[in-house]
Structures are given as C-alpha cells and as structure tokens.
C-alpha cells in the first residue's frame, strides 16, 4: 500500500481537469436530455397553437362535424375519425391474431435455425418504407382486391352492409390491409419477446403434467403474458392510427362516411397528408393543424396506456 502515491502528489491541474471534465460531461448530457424533453413539449405546443384559429371558429364541434367543405370554409373531423377507427380496427383484427400466431411459432415451435431465419424476415417487413408499401398497394394489391378478394367477399357476405357495394381498387378495405401488413411485425416482435420471457420451468411443468403444446401455450404462455399482449396490440393500433402516406395512396378520398369497406374513405392522417400542401385559406390550414392535434392526443394517449402497462407489468421493451 505504501507504493500508492498520496493524493497530494497528483498534479493539481490533473484534479482540476477531472473536476471540470466531470461537470462538463454531466451538464452536456443533462442539456441533451432537456433539449429532447423540450422538443416534445415544443411539438405539442406548436401543433396546438396552429389549431387555435380553427378551435376558436368551430370549438369542440369540430370533432363531431361531418362537413369538410373547402369552398364554404366549414370543417369537421367526424368522417375522418370514423375512417381512422374503421381502418385501424380492421388492421388490428387481421394483424393481432396473425402477429400473435407468428410470435408463438417463433418462440415455441420453430427450431433455432428457422427462428433465426424467419425472425429477421418478419422484422424486415417493418423496415419497408410506407411510401413503397403504398405504391405496391395502389398498383398491385388494390387491383388484386378489386378483381378477386372484394367480389368474393361481396358474393358471400354482401348481405352485411360493410361488404356491399362495387369492388374498387382504392378504398377503406385496401387501406386496412396495408395497415395490417404494417402492424403485423410490431405485434409479432413484441409478443415473441414476451413469450420467450415466460419462465421455461412453468412450461416444462405443464408439459410434464401431460399437457399438449397447445394447452401449454393457452394455459401458461398466453395467460401469463396477457398484459404484454395488450400493450403490443395498443402499440400496433397506434401505428395504424397515425400512418399517413400509405393510407393516402390507397384509400381514395371521400367527404362523407361510406358504410361499405370497398368505397373510398379518409383518415385523420391521410387528410392531412393529402390537403396540407394545397391548403389555401388560413382556416383550412388551421383545421388541418386541428386534425394533427387530435391525432397527437390520440397517439399520446394510446402510447401512454401501452407504456403504463409495460412498466407496471415489467414487459420487455422490444419494438421500435
């Protein structure tokens, strides 16, 4: 111990440098984090401020108003909220079970090498830019739906108003399908992490009691990760609610609510993407800001719910 130099023999400048270095790094990191938090506040503030003119003109009635008339200067988000809800729900109904099933395949069924092959491929699906998926949607999937899927649905389920009407290559149905493709990888990757985190003793115990693999999945894997699955579905829903570009490309455009899924529609995000550039009056721009504000609130609330579930139940954070 006697060979360790006493504190005094360290150079004074060295200690000063360390003192300054420590403070400097701490301050820099604090500033960066504060800037990020401030940015988030700034986003909310600017969007809400942009909506103020429309807010003072239409108030809360904007949310339920179903008129969107650029010439008359009357705007409302009602049809768009309906369109957003229908497309997102359709995406979730398709992508939820599919994503969970994929996660089960990857975590419970597939041998290691297949898991390491297919897992990244499913995540690659999430990496496809939405504008590229939308291009494919409008030029390939849309015509395919109009020629094959929609006539078939109409023939068998046409008595349900949702599936009535003429098939068309752009509309709510195609938008829901495109959104489902975007949501699947989110649900699948979060759920896979959840299922892999289920203690293997529980699964082995159930297997040892004579349960089949499906019974293990139903009784142990799924039931012990219910909250996490909920969070995964909500995060997927959030993705679907906010997607603008691909939906704009395939949904057509509509100013009234159409009951048929085959008819064109519009969502909050797609209306913003479609009209923002061409907006002429201040009131129209402000109304588009209002739409963005509604979307922001919906997005924050869904994400907050998912984060609360994640934190409360200590779900692994897996998705982007």
């Amino acid at each position: 111990m006697s060979t360790v130099p006493a504190a005094e023999t360290l150079g004074g400048t060295q200690r000063l440098r360390d003192w300054i270095g420590d403070r400097l790094l701490l301050i820099l990191t604090l500033l960066a984090a504060l800037a990020s938090v401030a940015l988030m506040v700034l986003i909310a503030w600017r969007v809400f401020r942009g909506a103020s003119l429309s807010w003072s003109t239409f108030g809360l009635g904007f949310i339920t108003g179903t008129t969107w008339d650029t010439n008359a200067g009357v705007f409302g988000a009602g049809t768009l909220l309906y369109g957003t809800a229908v497309t997102s729900l359709m995406a979730l109904i398709i992508a939820g079970p599919l994503g969970i099933a994929i996660a089960l395949f990857l975590s419970e069924l597939a041998p290691r090498w297949i898991r390491e092959l297919i897992g990244p491929l499913v995540e690659m699906l999430a990496a496809v830019p939405s504008v590229v998926l939308g291009l494919w949607g409008i030029l390939v999937l849309g015509p395919f739906c109009a020629n094959h899927i929609e006539p078939w649905l109409g023939r068998w389920f046409g008595w349900i108003p949702l599936f009535s009407g003429d098939p068309s290559s752009s509309g709510v149905f195609v938008a829901g399908l495109i959104l489902a493709i975007m949501v699947v990888p989110i649900v699948a990757s979060i759920c896979r992490e959840l299922f892999l985190a289920v203690p293997s003793e529980l699964e082995d115990g159930a297997l040892a009691l004579g349960a089949t693999r499906w019974e293990v999945v139903r009784g142990v894997v799924l039931s012990s990760s219910k909250p996490g699955i909920g969070a995964a579905l909500i995060l997927g829903l959030g993705r679907a609610l906010g997607e603008a570009i691909a939906v704009t490309q395939v949904i057509g455009s509509a100013t009234a609510i159409n009951v048929s899924l085959f008819a064109p529609g519009d969502t909050l995000a797609s209306r913003i993407a479609a009209q923002f550039q061409g907006a002429v009056t201040k009131l129209q721009i402000s109304s588009l800001f209002y739409l963005a504000a509604i979307l922001l609130v919906i997005g924050l609330v869904t994400n907050l719910i998912a984060q609360v579930i994640v934190r409360r139940f200590d779900v692994q954070r897996a998705a982007d």
Binding site: L109, A127, V128, P129, G134, I138, T212, A269, A273
Partner: protein, 294 residues
C-alpha cells in the same frame, strides 16, 4: 397402489385424440401465419424488383429529374437530396441521442431517468405526419421549404431510436469495468470516455445506421417541409431538396404510366438501400452485443 394400475388408460380415447388434434391444428395455424408474413415480404420485394429493375440504368441514376410530361430523365437529384437530408438529421440526432442515453444510463437517478425515458418512448410513438406538421409550423410557415426543415423533421424520427439503441448497448458494458476504472482512481468522465464509450462505439454506430435506414424511407415528415423543388441536383440545404420518398409519393399519385415506372424504379433503389443497410446493421449489432455480453 397395485389395484390402481388397472384403472389407467394410457392408450387415450376420444378426448385424447381431440386434444392432439387441437394441438396439431394450432401448430399448423402458427406455421401458416409465419409463412404468410414471409410470403407478403417476398411478394412486395419481388413485385417491386420485377417492375423496377427494367427502368434502372446508368442514365436513370445519374440524370436530373424529367420535366413534367417529358420522357426520360433520372433520379440523381433525389439520391443526392436524400443523402443530404439524412446527413442533416444524423448530425442533429446523434449527439442528442447519445448524450441523453449517457445521462440515462451513467448519471441519472431512477427518479430523473423515468420521465425522460417516458418522453423518448412517447416520441418514438408519434405519428410521423405530426412531425411534418410541427416542423412546417415552426420553420416553413411564413418562410420557405428547406432541406434544413426536412432534415430537422427526420432527426425527430431518429432521436428516440438512437437514444434507445445506445442505452441498450451501454447496458451491456459490464458494471465491473466501470467499477474497476473508478477504483483505479479514474474520474467519471474518464470512465465514460475511456471505458464505456470505446467498448460500446460499435453498437452505437450500428444503432445509428439502423436509424438512418428508417429515416431514409420516411415521407410524411418531408411532405410539407421539402417537397417543392427544382429538377436539378440541389446541394444547398437552405433550398428545398429533392428526395426519394416524396418523389415516389408524387409519382405514385400521378395518372401517367411513365411516372409509375419511375416510381417503381425509385422505390427499388430506396428499398434496396433500406433493406440492405438494416440487414447488415442488424447482423453487426447482434455480433457486437454478443461480444459485449460475454
């Protein structure tokens, strides 16, 4: 016990068969689900490759954008513009993200870290069209569109991604290494600069590349911030910069079949860039994390 042995029926009756059937069915459904996702990816990629590959030539990649309604032309301005936009976004998001992650994992107490963490999680869930509207209101409204505005909007997409991937990498640096350096008398900042950052540099960089791949394909943040541009190569970020995502969007909405062909080819270039970089980055990330984790 001896009398009970008689009552066991291990052959399984109808009930057992039903259970096995349900199990088989579930296995088939799960396998089909996974195959369908892979099939969709394959169909998307192949149909874009099939339609796009014929259009791609040296002149398509190097010539300026076609004038409205004229044949020919290329996408050089789009490639250059996209690169500049992503570079601007990286310059903003990388330091902010890495420094924030350092605060969260090296300095902050739980009470300070929790709300900051939440903000990043919320930011990564923001619909990207809102970022476009936000930056339009902040920088474009009353001024003009610019590459700076577009790059700034993209940086908000990248920031939470970089912060998270950096955090996950920092978490893998063994605590014993930090403790060892501290015990040798190193100050905190020397530990960070000399031990923590060097061993996590690879992970941070690949995380950044993944964020770049994601930002390169984002359209909505650019649609109102840098979408009205000239046909020639633009390098001044004060002007609106031509870029691939917005131009694919414009061409896909066009009625001209020539524009559709251009859209397919540009989509192929963009998709190839995004998929190849994110595949490579993922592979590198998995490798560096495995190495760090050991």
């Amino acid at each position: 016990m001896g009398t009970m042995e008689q009552s066991f029926d291990l052959s399984g009756g109808g009930r057992s068969r039903r259970r096995r059937l349900a199990n088989r069915l579930a296995e088939v459904v799960a396998t089909l689900a996974a195959l369908s996702a892979v099939a969709v990816l394959a169909i998307v990629v192949l149909s874009i490759a099939k339609r796009g590959i014929g259009e791609i030539s040296w002149s398509f990649l190097t010539e300026p954008l076609p004038l409205f309604g004229t044949p020919g032309g290329g996408i050089a301005p789009l490639i250059v513009g996209s690169a500049i936009l992503v570079a601007i976004a990286t310059v903003i998001a990388l330091p902010l993200g890495v420094l924030s992650a350092l605060l969260l994992s090296e300095f902050a107490s739980r009470r300070l870290a929790a709300p900051i963490q939440l903000v990043f999680d919320l930011m990564s869930g923001l619909p990207s069209v809102i970022l476009g509207v936000f930056v339009f209101g902040l920088l474009v409204y009353g001024h003009t569109q610019s590459g700076i505005a577009g790059g700034f909007a993209l940086s908000i997409v990248m920031l939470p991604l970089i912060a998270r991937s950096t955090q996950e990498t920092l978490r893998l640096v063994p605590q014993t290494q930090r403790d060892g350096a501290l015990a040798l008398g190193a100050s905190r900042w020397r530990v960070v600069m000399g031990v923590v950052l060097p061993s996590s540099l690879g992970g941070i960089l690949t995380g950044t590349v993944l964020a770049i791949a994601r930002a390169a394909g984002e359209t909505a943040p650019l649609l109102f911030t840098t979408s009205i541009y000239l046909n020639s190569i633009q390098t001044n970020p004060r002007n609106a910069l031509p870029n691939m995502p917005v131009q694919i969007f414009i061409w896909s909405e066009s009625a001209d079949p020539e524009d559709h062909k251009r859209a397919w080819a540009t989509a192929l270039v963009l998709l190839a860039f995004v998929l190849v970089t994110s595949l490579l980055a993922r592979a590198a990330l998995a490798r560096s994390r495995r190495k760090l984790g050991q």
